[in-house]
């Protein structure tokens, strides 16, 4: 995904497991002011869905890879908010 020169960034946000249950949804679309980061997507998510009980610094992924909260995001990116992992 190329970095957009537009004034907004539109991304898809995925929720899983306990976060999806709490929010009552597994995905939503967010439009954020540019430039945007994972952290600004999380702030917008909290504002939009008060039921999503996210921790202060949830584990996150961008486009299928783990990402930091300060990772920049662009229109078309897939952001995932990941509850504590329990595989293995």
């Amino acid at each position: 995904m190329t970095v957009s020169a537009a004034s907004t960034v539109t991304v898809r946000v995925l929720l899983f497991a306990s976060y999806a249950e709490a929010a009552g949804q597994t995905s939503l679309t967010l439009t954020l002011p540019a430039p945007a980061t994972v952290a600004s997507a999380i702030r917008a998510l909290r504002a939009q869905s008060a039921r999503a009980r996210l921790p202060e610094r949830p584990l996150c992924a961008v486009n299928l890879a783990h990402a930091r909260l300060d990772t920049p995001i662009s229109t078309g990116d897939e952001i995932a908010i990941l509850p504590p992992l329990a595989g293995g």
Partner: protein, 164 residues
């Protein structure tokens, strides 16, 4: 190659995939669904995954192991409903020397637990169920507010009501 499957896992084909006459040692690991968790009787489990990322992350973990050691690795993780005693994850690592086989196998299970986006819901004997929340869950890193990126400082404790 799919790393996730809803079918029962079988170690034998994984061993066959990595074994060869140049690799004298094969180390394997099986993770088994336990009947207890935190003192409560578990009757079954439901594993769910962020499928696309779990596949990508498993592939990265295997590639990292194969880059770190002279080793070939096979890995499968089951999802969906699992009964007590069933196998949730299988790993086979074959290397010319057993040291590398053991180290790679251990590396892969630790990385899978730490990095692959899979969750499990436990169903208890009393009819309730809950998502498993490991006590030492990793947190996202945010270095945007830090002076030196190589010396991260802990963030102040949360004052919001969003904490876990």
């Amino acid at each position: 190659m799919a790393f996730l499957t809803e079918q029962p896992l079988d170690l034998t084909p994984l061993v066959a995939r990595v074994m060869s006459p140049e690799r004298g040692g094969v180390a394997c690991f099986l993770g088994v669904v336990r009947d207890h968790h935190d003192g409560r009787s578990v009757t079954r489990l439901e594993y769910s995954a962020y499928d696309a990322m779990a596949e990508a992350e498993c592939e990265r973990v295997v590639a990292e192991a194969e880059a770190k050691w002279d080793v070939r690795v096979a890995l499968e993780h089951r999802t969906g409903r699992l009964e007590i005693g069933e196998v949730a994850v299988v790993i086979a690592a074959a290397a010319p020397h057993r040291d590398a086989a053991f180290m790679a196998c251990r590396f892969v299970i630790e990385q899978v637990k730490r990095r692959v986006p899979i969750w499990k819901r436990e169903y208890f004997l009393d009819g309730t169920s809950a998502w498993v929340a490991p006590r030492t869950a990793p947190q996202a890193v945010d270095r945007s507010a830090e002076a030196a990126p190589d010396a991260p400082t802990p963030e102040p404790a949360s004052h919001t009501d969003w904490g876990v």
